[in-house]
Amino acid sequence: MMLMRDLFGLSLHNLLLHKVRSILTSLGVIFGVGSVIAMLAISEGAKRSALAQIEAMGIDKIILFSKRPPVDGKSESSDNAGVMERYGLSAKDVSNIMKMDNIERITTVFDARKKVLKGLQRTDLKLIGCDYQFLQDSSAKIEKGRWFSPADYQNNALVCVIGKNVKRRLFAIGDTDVVGGSIRIEDMVFRIVGIVDNVYGTQYPEIGGQNDMIFIPITTARALYKDYTFVREGYAYKITRIEYDLFLVKIADTSYIDNTSKRIARYLEKAHTDTKDWGMVVPLELLRQRERTQNIFTIVMGSIAGISLVVGGIGIMNIMLASVFERRKEIGTRRALGAQKADILLQFLIETVFLTSLGGIIGITLGVGIGSAITYYSKMPTIYSAWSIILSLAISSITGVIFGTYPAYKAAQQNPITVLRAE
């Protein structure tokens, strides 16, 4: 048998002879691989940004939140309209949950439910009281200025830290002295000490995006607002009393997070007997779910890719069979000059594998091009993972082996005399 190097050289030479035809032949594989790469990149991008958002809530946390209980037919709230409505997480919940195993700490958050105005316009910005650890337990970073100091908490200081969007919404673009300036909310004035940015734009259940919040120390919030809210409903004022809106429960060991979350849920069900006035989000669980759906998506994508590669492979097989017929004089001559059947077989097989691998490489380039174009025009993120590229290459080569074997076998089986006589 001839040397591998010569064999590769020969196959490559034959492909380069018919450049246009080679490319046309591998078109099926090119588009198959191209679309797969592009779609994988898009789905990977979508997945990563979704996962990043989930992760930004903290995979070592359980998030508990207060929510207004559903109003059923014989609800007392309709009978006692105008009377105080009371629901949600309480200080008792904090101390009871803290007693459980595997709980490291609970960061509490309270929504003061104050109207934040810009000029005379009401905004959906929120005035939020939070614990000192909140910065650490959220995925926000200080962009400018500082976070609260322990002294701010002790002194119930009238200071606030604003989210990135708050700055954008309430201040002019070029405004450089935002930090150090002040905000008036209803009849209170707060000095701005810092700006925080959450790049993931983390959304908390019920109270919304972190970048839209104006934070004040929770002690200040209590001192100013207790835990009462007056909400005007038609001609009546309604008093709502909610002690806490959000708990960020940090878990010590995430491998037991399932048990811990179940235990907390059981406790809350028992403690809040009448009403379902609380909710729970386990980011890690969301993450797992998301990954599961992602796997299904990947399987579907893989099947589509498989079909397009099979179609491409059949096309290549067809052309290779025609090529064997076209080149039977060459085959006969090679045999007469001492080529073994194996030499002929490998020559054609390697040619097909080169063809599909070339298709794979062009397809990857095409896919990356399409993906980049999509990112450029629609701002959808795309991510090209190394494994998707390696896998595409491997699969396109394997396609060559699968669909090249029969034509190569045919070529090797050509009877040298009949092919030499046919002129």
Binding site: T333, A336, G338, A339, Q340, K341, A342, D343, I417
Partner: protein, 266 residues
């Protein structure tokens, strides 16, 4: 050992009662009906005979491209029907040099690369291949054409390259099926002269199928096939004595056949 005798007698090829019958459908077409022949080392043997007499068939059997229906073929002591595919390919590669009427050069390879093909199948390293290709091209008078493509060469030049290619692995003998069939008279003479030189000066054994009466004097031995059998074997001096009578006869037969064909078609 009987083979010993063969070897000592210097026979490269020994054919014993070679038969070939083609079967097309229900029809059996006997083409070779018992050929006995030998080729000695250094001999220049010509096969002549009317069209369809089985010359090419016999040559293909000699080249192991075809298998006889019956009979034995000894190539340097070895009975080739006993060999595996791979061994046959190796023998074709090392011991036999093929030359075709239509040259069968690879049009997309350069002259140099064409000459190298048998050496590639012989697993000879690239450096040695190139040196040998140059030597051989020079020997056939085309040392200055190494980089050209066969399409840029004349028919005679192409056949010279084919000869160089056939010689590249130093074969035991050369098989040529009407190598001058596609060439004009003058070029044919030159090619025959080249064969003659290779045979006389370098001792290359040549087995050639031919039609051309003017080429008679080059052969050591002429074997005439008729109807699948050896009609007669003429040695060199007999060929000369008969002043190409043999060839004339064939020419006449062929002309007659053509006339007949013309009559049929008209």
């Amino acid at each position: 050992m009987p083979d010993k005798e063969v070897h000592q007698s210097g026979d490269i090829v020994r054919l014993i009662d070679i038969r070939k019958t083609y079967i097309t459908g229900d029809l059996q077409v006997p083409v070779l009906k018992g050929i006995h022949a030998t080729v000695k080392r250094g001999e220049f043997v010509g096969f002549i005979g009317t069209s369809g007499s089985g010359k090419s068939t016999l040559l293909n059997i000699l080249g192991m491209l075809d298998v006889p229906t019956a009979g034995q073929y000894f190539l340097e002591e070895t009975e080739v029907s006993q060999l595996t595919d791979v061994e046959q390919a190796t023998i074709r590669n090392r011991k036999i040099g093929f030359i075709f009427q239509s040259f069968n050069l690879f049009p997309h390879l350069s002259v140099e690369e064409n000459i190298e093909v048998p050496m590639i199948y012989g697993r000879i390293a690239g450096r040695i291949r190139r040196k040998r290709a140059l030597d051989l091209a020079q020997r056939v008078g085309l040392g200055h054409r190494l980089g050209h493509r066969p399409t840029q060469l004349s028919g005679g030049e192409c056949q010279r390259i084919a000869i160089a290619r056939a010689l590249s692995n130093n074969p035991a003998f050369i098989l040529a099926d009407e190598p001058t069939g596609n060439l004009d008279e003058k070029t044919s003479d030159e090619i025959m002269k080249l064969f003659h030189e290779l045979n006389r000066e370098q001792g290359v054994t040549i087995v050639m199928v031919t039609h051309n009466p003017a080429l008679g004097p080059h052969y050591d031995k002429i074997i005439r096939l008729r109807d699948g059998r050896i009609d007669e074997t003429l040695l060199e001096w007999e060929v000369k004595k008969q002043e190409h009578a043999v060839f004339k006869e064939i020419e006449e037969q062929r002309d007659k056949a053509e006339v007949e064909i013309n009559e049929v078609t008209q």
